[in-house]
Amino acid sequence: MFGLFETGFASFYWGNGVMLAIGAIFLYLGIVKKMEPLLLVPIGFGVILINLPLGGLMDSIVQGNIVEAYAIGGEPAGLLSRIFRYGLVWELIPALIFLGLGAMTDFSPVIANPKTLILGAGAQFGVYFAFFVALFFGSTFSGINIGLGEAASIGIIGGADGPTTIYLTNRLAPQFIGATAVAAYTYMAMVPIIQPPIIKALTSKRERAIYMKPQLRPVSRLEKILFPVIGAIIIILLVPKSAPLIGMFMLGNILKESGVTDRLANTAANAFIDILTILLGVSVGAFMSARSFLQPESLLVFGLGIAAFAVSTFFGVILAKFMNLFLKEKINPMIGAAGVSAVPMSARVVQRMGQQANPRNFLLMHAMGPNVAGVIGTATAAGIFLGILG
């Protein structure tokens, strides 16, 4: 007989209701507010699906019994738990997304102005800041379960790079993957809200108005081909654990720049990355079941995540100001804020604020330098954490 106890209603509790509302908010933000819709829509729908009890989407088998949740040591038995295991836990999806991102990235601004690499590195300070603060919380408050791996996963949110955050969290603190991924993508979408007040607080109008010639020097095809090859060799030799992310990133980039693999580059930058984004989004959302997400640690992830992001912006701007002490031709210190790797949102914020301060300014290309350097910087920071803690 098909009665109430066979439907999901009997197993539904208030936590599921809260999570359905959160899923609906993600859908609203994605669809109506157009905030990172390519991610928030699949994540939001994944949250809704997983909070409908008895659906079995994230079921796992543990010692012969079916468990209605993802079990780290168990065997995945549901549609989404299988995607999660073989896509995320096996580290395929984030690394392959980097292949697509590489095929979409133009390194010309970095090659034309290598100083911006320093800014991309400087903006990673927030990552380490949040790491130590999270460790402090974990060691001070007995109710909060945060160790080295969890702290690193929270810190990396400051880099504002979704795939890198997911990659690192999966290795060091897999139980946090829903919270860190959502925090990273939410804050990336909120770049235009978070960064301007910090930039304004650190710079005078005169500094924001510093004019930089809009054109950078032309970059040759040979330079564009050599950059991913030499870049991969140097970074991976320095930080071997960054190999999956940096390796795929640079491979995608050489497909784009070689000029002879346009078909592969087009696929990587379009259909390929789109398929992976769907799988990533829905499986991250599916990790946000009420019982695993509604924990005090999740709130800490969100709170420290935004602190990491703010501190990264802070150090990016401060480093640019510091560089100006030694530069004959001054740089606009706002481009330091673009060292967080939220491409191209950060660069766009800098461009807009630069124009507001001085209508002659057109800082987009200058800001794209630290922006793409920031992607390399965050992936390298993740590699450093893995090297030490992995």
Binding site: D106, P214, Q215, P344, R348, Q351, Q355, Q356, P359, R360, F362, L364, M365, M368
Partner: protein, 73 residues
């Protein structure tokens, strides 16, 4: 009376031209929208003045250094 030449900053496509010859513009007014790197970038008037010659049209692909408008100040 001086002249201010507004030039194309980066390669892209003009998606709209918001001024015509004879228009009075103030510093910060949008002259046109330049689509580049998948972003819509407004090009702003650097000074107050009167638009003289408009050298671009909607749909035109432009390169750095080309003139967008001349503003008489």
């Amino acid at each position: 009376m001086g002249k201010e030449i507004v030039e194309v900053p980066i390669t892209g496509k003009i998606t709209s031209v918001n001024v015509k010859s004879g228009d009075q513009v103030q510093e910060g007014d949008v002259i046109c929208i330049l689509e580049s790197m998948k972003m819509e970038n407004p090009i702003l008037a650097p000074v107050d003045g009167v638009v003289g010659e408009v050298s671009v049209s909607t749909g035109q692909v432009v390169k750095p250094g080309e003139t967008i408008v001349v503003i008489d100040i």
